[in-house]
């Protein structure tokens, strides 16, 4: 799988993402600079990693969505390319309107760095094929603005068309969007990640890339990456 990681000024989880990708592909991903005009040729996957692009000034992801490289990323998306956006990457994808909705300040108004449990809502996508539908996996989250919101109509559309990728739940899979223990940042419908209409773009707030090694506490996040490799190389 040929992957590229896009680096904006203030991106800070590009190394984590590179380690995760390297662990499943055996090769280092290309690092793409925000001012580049083009993506490397022949890419299978573009990743927008976590961090604080442009310091999160103005709004999280707002300035990055207008960076020079985003033109190439839009073209890549239009041609059906696969894109994963994690944390700030998810925020950038919503600001760039490649994914619907927006990420508000956490309901607690505090940064949240803790493990959470995510329920896999469908497993017929390149991002989720190595899980079963309804599987629950643990992953670290670390963000101040992860409270997913969209207009009621958009939420209904996402739900009706199966575009919710992951939800915050209890370890046993129970969801309660009103319980801050289970839905820590207050997201609507406890949504932790969504897909694009063609299921080739996935944005999510938590960090599966930080849980791909037993030494760091587990490999719970690894199926996302092994699944991508299988889907995109196969």
């Amino acid at each position: 799988m040929k992957a590229a990681i896009v680096v904006f000024p203030g991106t800070n989880r590009e190394r984590d993402m590179a380690i995760a990708l390297r662990s499943v592909t055996g090769q280092a991903p290309a690092m793409v600079w925000h001012r580049d005009a083009a993506l490397p040729a022949g890419l299978d996957l573009v990743v927008l990693p976590g961090g604080f692009s442009y310091g999160d000034y103005l709004r999280c992801g707002a300035m990055a969505a207008h960076a020079p490289i985003m033109t190439a990323i839009r073209e890549f998306a239009q041609k059906g390319g696969h894109i994963l956006g994690v944390c700030n990457g998810f925020q950038i994808l919503t600001e760039a309107q490649l994914l619907p909705g927006a990420l508000l300040r956490n309901a607690s108004l505090r940064f949240l760095s803790q493990d959470c449990f995510l329920r896999v809502e469908r497993n017929d996508t390149p991002f989720t094929r190595h899980w079963a539908k309804g599987d629950v996996y643990r992953t670290p989250m670390a963000h101040g603005d992860g409270n997913y919101i969209a207009e009621a109509e958009t939420i209904r559309m996402l739900e009706d068309t199966g575009r919710v990728a992951f939800r915050y739940v209890a370890e046993n899979g129970r969801m309660d969007a009103g319980d801050p223990q289970l839905n820590p940042n207050g997201s609507m419908n406890a949504i932790a990640g969504v897909f694009s209409e063609n299921l080739r773009i996935c944005g999510m707030m938590p960090h599966p890339e930080d849980l791909v090694d037993p030494l760091m506490g587990g490999e719970d996040g690894k199926p996302l990456f092994t699944g991508l490799v299988e889907a995109l190389v196969g």
Partner: protein, 736 residues
């Protein structure tokens, strides 16, 4: 303020700038004339307590600073130790106490930013942050505001720069009501052959300014940090700097990119006293002169005077001496990161610092006497008031209730509310997150090495007996590193005390250093970097001032050759739970005595450094052999609190035996005897035999398993109840 509006320089102005009459006399003698306004400003900040260490320097020299694995000790921006495989760990801890009382968010944030720069300026990529925080009485109206701001500030900065915050400590005590302590520590990793120092060299070489623009913020911050607060402390807000972690992140990446070339001759961050101290120290250390033209300094505001630019403490700035032919190569890197880059001067052979602004020479000071004739004080000391002897105690509440009160009290309650606001996983190398082990464990990327990191100090012991307290802080750091299986290498110290002009405070300072030195020597655990923060006083309504508890915070660093061997608190089922180290049942200065009987009496527990070393070496060896599966040192709250923490950290419960110790239950369970570890092993009998051969006291406490903590009387406290009580304090204080 234009130069014309500046007041004439005289002794009265010098006093306002924080210089004594005698110090001003020295300035006149060095200059051979009346100094200019800017020159006086430079002298006053360079000779401030904060920059000159004038009250502490004579004593700091007594600390051990060398070992075969020490590459650079004190004197550089941070300490450097060999961790193997050609790599070095670079680390330091520094205080930002005064700004954090005035403006907690920015005070704490810029504290983190400053210590990060001290580390990456030496060529290291920062891999971990820790912080040692001391706050006032939770019931004091100011405390909540300060805790909130400091925690947000630490997180706001550290999270954005993408360096994981992995550990630290927090205490509450009324002595910190008007003077919280914010001690931030950064650890970085560099190749040993790519370590950058600050001594300037090469006459004619260009002096480069990079990073943020200079504004009027933080002018005279170093002087503020060298004086007591008065009732107008909050009016000093303009002297607090404002941080921009986004620029810091760019600066880290740009500097590391430049450091991968051979363009740099010397580099230093602009910290306290900004451009003044970086220019003076770099040129001074290199034995050269330096000529700066302030017209070229990137400025955020209009009409700044030379004085203002030289004393500004605007954040996220670095000073670099480059090889002459590498200016354009360096400029391209900083252009890429969209950071200011300006040639603001060059090195000279005059031995003077010369400051030009708008065609005029604003300052011309000989560097050697500025450094060599900086004041050094041997201030008078007096013995501190010893604690009252401890009255014979009777336990009024019983073991179970005492345990529940202790695990819920401010000093022992869960810190999850705090560390869950700090990104502890960014970087993908965090092997043990906060609370999971006695020291945080961070893997060194692309190697099998692990760093074990901790901060420690028990201020109430230090107040009762500063020498013992200083030694105990070092021993506890060593112990916490040992309890993970790591080999302790070195410490950074952050010495927070009250006014050195109070003889009893100066006495505490001198004693604490003596104790630290003794422990460092006994444990081969040298001091490689550090920081002194004096004048930590709160002005009381009656005009007196109250000193903080003496708080020599120790930041310890150890290494694991194989990070996979690290152990934490979590016990598997079916282990023998054993106590290593001697239990005498000392309750003086214990948390139990304070929380249950409201007494702060008695001598702190004794510390036998030979036993410390023997017990620790034994534990470390057995962790390395995988005989010890889980380990926790016994600290605040004693044995029962430590066992409860192990139960809360994992899935397994614990069933305790009756100790048969011959001492009262509260003394056995809550005494704070030092140099002890609780370990989980498969075969307790075998461990006891090994311990006996090694001369390490060993006794069985019980067995892991079950669903909670079962006390010797058969009563079981569920894990859920332990966790609930342990977790109550912070949310109750902060989210009300």
């Amino acid at each position: 303020m234009s130069a014309k509006a500046q007041r004439p320089v005289d002794e009265a102005l010098a006093r306002e700038f924080g210089l004594t009459a005698e110090e001003y006399g020295k300035v006149l003698a060095i200059m051979g004339r009346t100094p200019s306004f800017t020159e006086l400003g430079i002298f006053s900040v360079m000779w401030s307590e904060h920059c000159s260490y004038k009250s502490s320097r004579a004593y700091l020299k007594t600390l051990p600073t060398t070992a075969p694995w020490v590459i650079h000790g004190p004197g550089e921006n941070a300490g450097v130790v060999d961790i193997g495989q050609g790599l070095a760990a670079i680390f330091k801890m520094e205080s930002h106490n005064h700004p954090s009382f005035i403006e907690p968010y920015q005070g704490a944030a810029t504290g983190v930013g400053g210590i990060l720069r001290d580390v990456f300026t030496m060529g290291a990529r920062p891999v971990a942050n820790l912080n040692a925080l001391r706050f006032g009485d939770p019931d004091n109206a100011q405390t909540r505001r300060i805790v909130d701001g400091v925690v947000r500030g630490v997180g706001g900065y550290g999270n954005c720069v993408g360096v994981p915050t992995v550990g630290g400590e927090i205490n509450f005590h009324p002595a910190y009501d008007g003077n919280p302590l914010v001690n931030a520590m950064t650890v970085g990793v560099a190749r040993q052959d790519r370590i950058f120092l600050s001594a300037a060299a090469g006459i004619g070489n260009p002096v480069i300014y990079v990073g943020s623009k200079t504004g009027r913020d933080g002018i005279h911050g170093a002087t503020m940090s060298s004086s007591e607060f008065d009732e107008d402390a909050l009016a000093k807000r303009p002297t607090v700097q404002v941080g921009d972690p986004f620029v810091e992140k760019l600066l880290i990446e740009a500097c590391l990119e430049l450091m991968a070339t051979d363009a740099i001759v010397a580099i230093q961050d602009m910290g306290a006293a900004g451009l003044t101290s970086s220019a003076v120290e770099m040129a001074g250390k290199g034995g050269v002169g330096i000529d700066l033209d302030l017209d070229n300094v990137p400025q955020r505001e209009r009409g700044m005077s030379a004085y203002e630019m030289m004393l500004s403490e605007s954040q996220e700035r670095m000073l670099i001496v480059l090889r002459p032919d590498r200016t354009e190569q360096a400029r391209a890197i900083f252009d890429k990161w969209e950071l200011d880059f300006a040639v603001i001067g060059h090195l000279t052979d005059t031995g003077n610092i010369v400051i030009r602004h708008k065609g005029a020479v604003e300052a011309d000071i000989p560097l050697a006497p500025l450094a060599d004739q900086a004041p050094v004080y041997h201030r008078p000391t007096a013995p501190a008031q010893p604690p009252l002897p401890m009255e014979p105690v009777i336990d009024p509440v019983g073991t179970e209730q005492a345990l529940m009160r202790l695990i819920g009290c401010p000093d022992l309650a869960s810190r999850a509310w705090v560390y869950n606001q700090y990104d502890s996983t960014v970087g993908g190398q965090t092997v043990r997150r906060p609370g999971a082990a006695d020291a945080a464990i961070v893997k060194v990327e692309d190697t099998e090495l692990g760093l074990a990191l901790t901060t420690d100090c028990t201020p109430r012991y230090c107040r009762a007996n500063a020498k013992l307290g200083g030694a105990q802080a070092v021993a506890e750091a060593w112990r916490n590193i040992t309890a993970t299986g790591a080999r302790p290498l070195a410490v950074t110290d952050n010495l927070n005390f009250g006014s050195p002009e109070k003889p009893e405070v100066m006495g505490q300072f001198v004693d604490a250093i003596a104790g630290m030195g003794e422990a460092c020597r006994a444990l081969d655990f040298p001091v490689v970097s550090g920081n002194v923060s004096l004048y930590n006083e709160t002005r009381m309504p009656d005009g007196t001032s109250q000193s903080i508890l003496p708080t020599p915070a120790i930041g310890g660093l150890g290494v694991l050759d194989d990070v996979r061997l690290a152990v934490g608190l979590e016990m598997p089922d079916g282990c023998d739970i054993m106590l290593l180290g001697e239990t005498k049942g000392q309750l003086g200065q214990s948390i139990w005595l304070r929380e249950i009987l409201g007494s702060q009496d008695g001598e702190p527990p004794t510390l036998d450094l030979a036993a410390e070393r023997r017990n620790g070496d034994f534990v470390r060896e057995l962790i390395g052999q995988r005989t010890i599966i889980a380990c926790h040192d016994v600290a605040d709250g004693g044995v029962l609190v430590a066992v409860a923490e192990m139960v809360m950290a994992g899935q397994a419960g614990c069933v305790l035996d009756s100790p048969q110790s011959g001492m009262r239950p509260e003394a056995f369970w809550f005494g704070e005897d030092q140099s002890r570890y609780i370990v989980a092993v498969r075969d307790g009998t075998a461990l006891a035999a090994m311990a006996e051969r090694a001369g390490v006291p060993c006794r069985r406490l019980g067995r892991s398993g079950g669903q909670g903590l079962t006390l010797p009387n058969g009563s079981t406290i569920s894990k859920e109840r332990l966790v609930a009580v342990h977790s109550e304090f912070f949310p109750r204080l902060m989210d009300r």
